[in-house]
């Protein structure tokens, strides 16, 4: 019996909603980055590491889709590339209330540039209800400027259907012929 494992990676700055988004679709209670600071690891095996948020979708007995959320605050220290191996796509969440969302977009698309070239990116803009500018059209233009083709959606990371839409867009972008 073999198990197939695939990854979807959620990235973006602190507070963009990565943890919440993973939580919205994960089958398990997610393991959070900030739990490292607690005594969680002490009670577990020595090799337990929580360098990122982790969730899981189980598809029957033999297929698993692992959901990883990068720690948003680790801008320079984080080894972005170690997460992407085995990944089928990247979901970039950007917080529209942050001072410079364009800079955020540029940073994260650059950090994952090799992966994006090979796989697929989907962008979710959070907190657009609190801050209407920049708008979706601005993000579309910025992506064009960066020569990146990716769907951009307004999302509420707490809303399962919004997060599901991001994953749907990711899967259909990889293969529009997928049927349900």
């Amino acid at each position: 019996m073999t198990t197939t494992n695939k990854k979807i990676i959620f990235t973006g700055p602190v507070g963009a909603g990565k943890t919440t988004a993973i939580e919205a679709i994960s089958d398990i209670s997610i393991i959070r980055t900030d739990e490292y600071a607690s005594d969680m690891t002490k009670s577990r095996k020595p090799q337990t590491t929580v360098a990122m948020d982790y969730g899981l979708i189980r598809l029957g007995e033999n297929e698993r889709v692992h959901l990883y959320g990068t720690p948003g605050q680790e801008r320079f220290d984080f080894m972005w590339d170690i997460l992407t191996k085995g990944g089928i796509g990247l979901i970039l969440l950007l917080d529209n209330t942050r001072p410079d969302p364009y800079r955020d977009m540029k940073f994260y698309t650059n950090a994952f540039r090799d992966f994006i070239q090979q796989e697929q990116l989907v962008v979710g803009i959070t907190r657009l209800d609190l801050q209407r500018k920049p708008g979706i059209n601005d993000y579309r233009s910025w992506l064009k400027e960066l020569s990146i083709d990716a769907p951009v959606f307004e999302v509420d990371a707490r809303d399962r259907s919004d997060v599901t839409s991001l994953v749907q867009a990711l899967l259909y972008s990889l293969d529009p012929g997928v049927t349900t």
Binding site: T3, K6, I25, M79, D81, I82, N110, E119, R132, Q168
Partner: protein, 476 residues
């Protein structure tokens, strides 16, 4: 100290923050397992030091006085200190692997002191390391400047097969953390050894205790469709019928102009709304679209919102959109400052009827066209969707996602798309009408001809099962 490539380099972490330690441990437990092993300082062949950490340099100096081993220095600033290898931040696994090789070069070589049995093992592992180096070299060669046109063509087939796209399966293991690569001849290719085997690394524990309460008993429809009663389904279908029409017969490029399923946008409210949208975007002012009944829409370009005095989901709005208007029944108006403050009050008090501006245009376009093609549409050239519509804030109907994905990837017309995807043509026409009104299409500049045959899609079965799961129809 040993310098033998058949053993991982024994390293001790010094002055590393808890987060960075976790990241490094993640790497060392996964893809870097054969390269690094974390040990106590006394046993270490080398140190890994984060020079950006407060007091790191001092701590490192104190340590090397007692135990003078080389160090891998992590820092944003270049570090040129004897007996160290600098790894610049942001860290990459490739840079770390290379630093291990550099450290090995400065360690005394004891490779040949091992016995013959170990020698065979060494030979195998040395071969692994050579593959590793080849892989690293190939990764270097494969690197392209970000944003080359090839990227847009998505010629994934040309890219070295990735771990994911190769559809590698893994042997089942009770421990979710140890996922083992599987290959035909028993030895996984170098890239899988490096990046595949343990990269799907799962933080422990993953016991059933951690499954969300009730998650195991999720049934069809419970996930994304809370209202699954027959009545709701019926309502949903009725709405889709309004947005997409009910035509089942397919028209073709040859006969669509003779079809009865045509409409003239200029005769409807939609036309005035598009004029208003253009005016508001160019003038950057609020524009009011006033109907002779006194109802109105207000477009607010600075916040990308629109207010409608008629509920978008009401029968009245459907009627207004679907009824041809006589000249003079709609006027565009630029509100004065006084009027604006009054309108602002109305909008605030009736926020329920404030919509995403694209959402208002999209719904109006769909209700107007009702699955029909515009009589004036130019369908002779293949079109490409230049940007996806903001589908999370637009009214959805079946097949909108795959239509968007394919039309973004491949240029074609409405007839091609429905054929390629084998979906009802009315869904494609509805999508075309909505996205075209929003200005999201561009005429293809001959790229369609040059597009190569799409590579066979991998993971389709898994994607399909995942979609079913997410949409509420899949089993766990």
């Amino acid at each position: 100290m040993l310098n033998s490539s058949n053993n991982p380099l024994k390293v001790a972490l010094l002055s590393i923050s808890p987060h960075n330690r976790a990241i490094l441990e993640f790497f060392f437990a996964g893809s870097g397992k054969s390269i690094f092993q974390i040990v106590a300082i006394k046993e270490a062949e080398a140190l890994v030091v984060d020079f950006d950490h407060p007091g790191a340099r001092q701590e490192w100096e104190e340590n090397i006085r007692v135990n003078p081993v080389p160090a891998i220095v992590l820092s944003v600033k270049e570090c040129d200190v004897e007996n160290t290898v600098w790894v610049p931040k942001p860290l990459t696994s490739q840079a770390l692997v290379q630093s291990a090789e550099q450290i090995r070069q400065v360690l005394p070589d004891t490779t040949y002191s091992v016995d013959s049995a170990a020698g065979a093992e060494k030979q195998r592992t040395a071969s692994d390391m050579s593959s590793l180096r080849e892989l690293l070299d190939s990764q270097q060669k494969d690197k392209q400047v970000f944003g080359l046109s090839g990227w847009q063509q998505r010629e994934r087939a040309k890219v070295a097969p990735s771990f994911a796209s190769a559809g590698v399966a893994y042997e089942a293991d009770d421990s979710a953390a140890s996922v083992v690569a599987e290959s035909g001849d028993g030895i996984a290719p170098a890239d899988e050894q490096l990046i595949g085997t343990d990269d799907v690394y799962v933080p422990e524990p993953l016991s059933d205790n951690e499954v969300l309460p009730g998650a195991g008993s999720l049934q069809l429809g419970q996930v994304t469709t809370p209202d699954e009663s027959e009545q709701d389904q019926e309502k949903q279908q009725q709405r889709w019928d309004l947005l997409c029409g009910q035509a089942t017969q397919r028209v073709t490029a040859a006969n669509w102009q003779e079809s009865t399923q045509l409409y003239t946008p200029e005769n409807y409210l939609l036309n005035s709304l598009i004029d208003a949208l253009n005016l508001s975007r160019t003038s950057k002012q609020y524009v009011q679209v006033i109907l002779d009944s006194g109802n109105y829409m207000l477009l607010m370009p600075d916040v990308n919102l629109a207010y409608s005095s008629i509920d978008l989901y009401s029968e009245l709005f459907t009627d207004v959109c679907g009824t041809p208007l006589q000249g003079g029944k709609v006027k565009l108006h630029l509100p004065s400052t006084t009027e604006l403050s009054e309108l602002e009050e109305v909008v605030v008090q009736d926020a329920r009827q404030t919509y995403d501006m694209e959402g208002l245009i999209w719904t109006t376009s769909l209700l107007t066209s009702h699955g029909r093609l515009s009589r004036n549409a130019d369908l002779s050239s293949p079109l490409r969707l230049k940007s996806w519509p903001n589908l999370t804030r637009l009214e959805q109907f079946p097949d909108a996602m795959p239509i968007a994905a394919l039309w973004h990837e491949k240029a074609g017309n409405v007839f091609d798309l429905s054929e390629w995807l084998d979906v009802p043509q009315r869904h494609v026409i509805a999508f075309f009408n909505g996205a075209h009104t929003l200005g999201l299409f561009e005429v293809d500049q001959g790229e369609a001809e040059q597009e190569k045959q799409a590579a066979p899609k991998k993971n389709r079965g898994l994607f399909s099962r995942l979609l079913k799961r997410l949409l509420g129809g899949g089993k766990k």
